[in-house]
């Protein structure tokens, strides 16, 4: 199947970024959101990124116009009927995602590939109970989607091998680096990166070292680009905490994934990192 039209559901930062990745490769993109204001904002975002590309002489004005013309803003699910592939990028709520895939099952062609950009919900669970679970796969981009090269292609319990291969090739065709993952909590990255935050929090809690010390050590001794606390502040401490809790719950409370009380208190106090001006570091200074 040659892919011409891609549907993207949810026009937030991830959805808009994914739409841009697809449009840059010449696909027609149907960017869907029920909220017109979100769609308007997504268009501004696309224009701002492409304008920067023009300023940096990466693309011409003409190419910018052509890319933007490939992105169609839509608000009704039925408008995705002709899509070869649909990528869902709505907030991380199981009920919401299940409802979307259930609707898509009735709207899309039977051979259309249905992908979810979830970072924390089981693909098997999203696909569970649907009429064609074999065509539902995880397709996990990293933020910001136009920049980060990785896509985790996640095989749910009932995903077919044929569809896994198709999704893998699609990721390559988008210029991304795909990796194949079997559906497990946190997939690869969010699972293996847990100790970077969690053990740093444990070390902090045990007063082995302080926030700035740990960040300095991980950068200078470990060669990491950002320390675990700087990174939590950037990601959002609430987001990081939610991911940890979800991995912990889904692994049936295995001790390795136990969340940190320090992180919980940061969230409870509203110190969520850069976005609130204060997290492990103070950004108001």
């Amino acid at each position: 199947m040659s892919i011409k039209t891609v549907g993207v559901i949810g026009a937030g930062t991830m959805g808009a970024g994914i739409a841009l990745v697809c449009a840059r490769k010449g696909h027609q993109v149907m960017l869907l959101d029920a909220n017109q204001a979100v769609l308007d904002k997504a268009l501004v975002y696309l224009e701002s990124i492409l304008t920067k590309d023009v300023e940096k002489n990466k693309i011409s004005e003409q190419e910018m116009t052509e890319t933007l013309e490939l992105v169609h803003l839509v608000s009704e699910m039925e408008q995705l009927a002709d899509c070869d592939i649909v990528i869902e990028a709505v907030p991380e709520r199981l009920d919401l995602k299940k409802s979307i895939f259930s609707q898509l099952s009735g709207i899309c062609r039977e051979d259309a590939l249905l992908l979810t950009n979830t970072s924390s919900i089981s693909i098997t669970e999203i696909a569970g109970g649907l009429s064609h679970p074999e065509r539902i796969l995880g397709f996990h981009f990293f933020n910001p989607a136009p920049v980060m090269p990785l896509v985790e292609v996640i095989r749910g319990k009932k995903s077919s091998e044929e569809n896994v291969e198709m999704a893998y090739r699609f990721a390559q065709e988008l210029g991304k680096v795909p990796v194949l993952v079997t559906d497990t909590p946190g997939f690869i990255v969010n699972r293996i990166a847990r100790p970077y935050y969690n053990e740093a929090l444990r070390i902090l809690g045990d007063h082995v070292a302080g926030v700035e010390q740990i960040d300095r050590i991980m950068k200078l001794a470990g060669g990491f680009k950002m320390g675990p606390f700087e990174l939590q502040d950037m990601i959002g401490i609430d987001i990081n905490f939610a991911t940890t809790k979800s991995v912990y719950t889904d692994f049936f409370h295995e001790g390795r994934f136990k969340p940190s009380r320090i992180q919980q208190q940061m969230v409870q106090s509203g110190s969520l990192g850069r976005k609130t001006g204060e997290g492990f570091y103070d950004y108001n200074k």
Binding site: F142, M148, P149, L150, E152, V177, V179, L180, V181, T182, T184, F187, I188, V189, R191, I192, A193, R194, P195, Y196, N198, E199, A200, R202, I203, D206, H207, V208, A209, Q213, I214, R216, I217, M218, L220, A221, G222, G223, F224, K225, P228, E254, G255, R256, K258
Partner: protein
Amino acid sequence: MTTTNKAVLLVGTSPLYAELNQLMVERGYQVLTLAEAMAEPELVELAVEVNSVDMQAKKRQVRELDDLLPPNVPIITTSLAITATEVASWTQHPERVCGFGTLVPLVERELIEIAPALQTELNTIQATEGFFQSLGKETETVNDEVGLVFPRILTLIINEAAFTLMEKTATATDIDIAMKKGTNYPYGPLEWADRVGLDEIFAISRGLQRDLAEERYRTAPLLRKLVLAGRVGVRSGQGFYTYEEKVGVEA
């Protein structure tokens, strides 16, 4: 003790031995083996002990150093798999023992962590900091616990990657690609483990499990078995990868 000789006694079997030896020679130190130091113990200004896998050998060597050297000579010991406080407790002069932790390759380590034992006196800490700074490294002094900060966090990342591989969630190659491309790690955790040595990582993991006694520090069975099979990484030609062909192992 003279300032012209700058003689340092270096003992141990960790991969750090060769790299520390080379770095010290480059920085103008005279590096003595235990046999050389026994002939002229008064030459030794500082002793460095780097055993991190065999705790019996570590205990034996630290006690040898403690018996051999005058009580004012600092003994700097790796506290990767055991606390500096416990190492110091083996000696007659625990105040001259100070822990440190780092992993090979040293050329990539801009900073070395130092962890004084509860018994360590200030002079010893200052001598330890001065020593590593003279090797061109920055230092950070942290509280004494197994694995310090960087080796402990890296060990847990590698351990989780080993669980992920063992469970066939993804291939070794895909796990490493994912961590480099998805979150900008300098190396994939499995290739990183192969460079550091799986035996060193296993020793830290076991030390954390022993001292902190929590399920969170449980070693991935695959990591344990690779070490028992002698597949400790690049050094042995095989670890998570095989180095003749550099392909991922089927876990």
